[in-house]
């Protein structure tokens, strides 16, 4: 299983999907997928660290909480992120978000993501043992 992310089609909004050898890696990639809806992540410097913590009874809820945690910090701190590090302890998640203040000229952000929805929210293990985490985000 390669570690990567992708967007999948949705008529009005955007589907985001992360792949990784572990749930943590898939969540990190899903973080990159959601950030990439707004900015090209390769243009974002890893200057500052923000920590997001959440807890949920199942992986789908935890994924949506995690993504909404990223979106909340982007909005409240006017930042964009380019690297994520996730650690899971049972149903608890601790995520490190590395990024910088948004710079409209350099980052050229397109539409802001308003929130991660539960629509198509799924976290599963593929036949080859790798993990996939996906949902639809509202743009």
């Amino acid at each position: 299983m390669t570690t990567r992310w992708e967007h999948f089609d949705h008529q009005a909004d955007i589907g985001i999907r992360g792949y990784g050898p572990t749930v943590e890696a898939a969540f990190e990639q899903a973080g990159l997928a959601v950030t990439s809806v707004m900015v090209p992540v390769e243009r974002v410097a890893e200057d500052s660290l923000i920590v997001v913590q959440c807890e949920a009874p199942d992986l789908e809820l935890l994924l949506v909480d995690w993504l909404n945690g990223i979106l909340r910090e982007m909005s409240a701190k006017r930042m964009v992120f380019s690297r994520f590090h996730v650690t899971l302890d049972g149903t608890r998640l601790r995520g490190e978000l590395w990024g910088e203040l948004i710079n409209s000229q350099r980052h050229e952000p397109s539409g802001e993501v308003k929130g991660a929805s539960y629509y198509e929210a799924r976290v599963w293990q593929d036949e080859d043992g790798g993990w996939v985490a996906q949902c639809v985000v509202d743009v």
Binding site: H7, D9, H10, Q11, A12, D13, I14, M38, V39, P57, E60, L61, V64, D65, N68, L71, R72, S75, A76, R78, V80, L101, I102, S104, E108, P109, S110, G111, E112, K114, G115, A116, S117, Y118, Y119, E120, A121, V136, D138, V139
Partner: protein, 476 residues
Amino acid sequence: MDRSTLIRKSEWAWEIPKTGRMLVPGILFASDALIDELDNKVNEQLSNVAALPGIVGAAYAMPDAHWGYGFPIGGVAAFDPKEGGVISAGGVGFDISCGVRTLLTPFNRCDVERIRTKLADELFYHVPAGVGSTSRLNLTKSEMTAMLAGGARWAVEQGFGLPDDAERIEYCGQCDDADPDEVSKEARRRQVEEMGTLGSGNHYLELQVVTEIMEESIAKAFGLVRNGVVVSIHCGSRGLGHQVATEFARRMVMEAAEYGIRVNDRELASVPAYSPPGKAYYGAMRAAANCALANRQILSHFVREVFKRVAGEDPLRLLYDVSHNLCSLEEHEVDGKLKRLYVHRKGATRALGPGHSDLPVCYQKTGQPVLVGGTMGTASYILAGTAGGDRLAFSSACHGAGRSQSRSQAMKQYRGEDVIEKLKRRNITIKARSFRGVAEEAPAAYKDVSAVVQATVGAGLARMVAKLEPMICVKG
């Protein structure tokens, strides 16, 4: 959409018959062409809504409907709280009280042509737009609470507008059933620097010229004249509304089962409107709506300042301000009985008919102005609510063009620079902070707004009043 699953009720209305867990049928308002374009997922999503407890009448889809998350966009659903009727955060969406407001200018097309560049530049400079933008406002804790309770009226009291603006805004500029105490610290934190910002995506500030008047008497009452120029603002409740929606959608997912509500899509999670979480959401959502009303009021003030500086005119007059993502407690007649219902409109505009007690005196005879936004390259329309609209879909109408192409498809197919150049040749000035954002919002990625409006009028949901074409469009 597969027509074999539908029963045609009239030229403009189609029924999804009640099957399985559905409590009421689904009704789609559309022309032949729009029905054929519609994805089957709209059918699926509307049928899911029709299965939610306490739904009355039918689950409706406006002619601009497309599939969303949970509820379809362009969906209208009303629930009777006395029959266990629910309220759903997913039924309103993330951008609570996203809406359109239109301001009348004393100018015609030629007047604006003379100052087009200057106006476009000044509006682009003075109206904060785009991801991460901030305004010069920074609300204190008590100001935030006052704003959440007071809406546009609060903004007018702070000097952002004229006293008579309020009556030309839905709910007279203030949802008085808001409960600011239900708005979390996190939601407030996201809004500290976001008051008076336009946002991004499909939000816009547009100068539009009236190119056609279809109903002279109503247009006159609305203050619209042929060749006259108006300003339309499309935006919502910004970060605060997004956070309120996020928190309550989660709470409903967690608590729905306690009320015996099970759904096959978590995004449809709902709780009884009269339950503690239902009441808390209603209060918070209405407070977020006040945030949107205040936001559009402040943006109008920035626009008025620019016009005053560039054109030296008196303040622009407000035509109307209407939300298209909202749930409101309204009285409607169902099976001959007057009921108080929680009416969810997600990507649908309220469209009150003439004589409705919630309308200001100036629109009592005409019905409510219905503001339908197009794309940056196509027409927008101003319609009016009809007397028969209440029986058709709880006095609701379409809200815009509706997407026909996904954002990723649009990004692959169009370049922002090309879109801007093409529109320039049609004498439409685009001022945008992001070429990528422009590509996503390319006019060709949307349905034909004229067809949507034609179906809305054909179905009797609203009356055609005026057609507007874009001149200057400011995007985030």
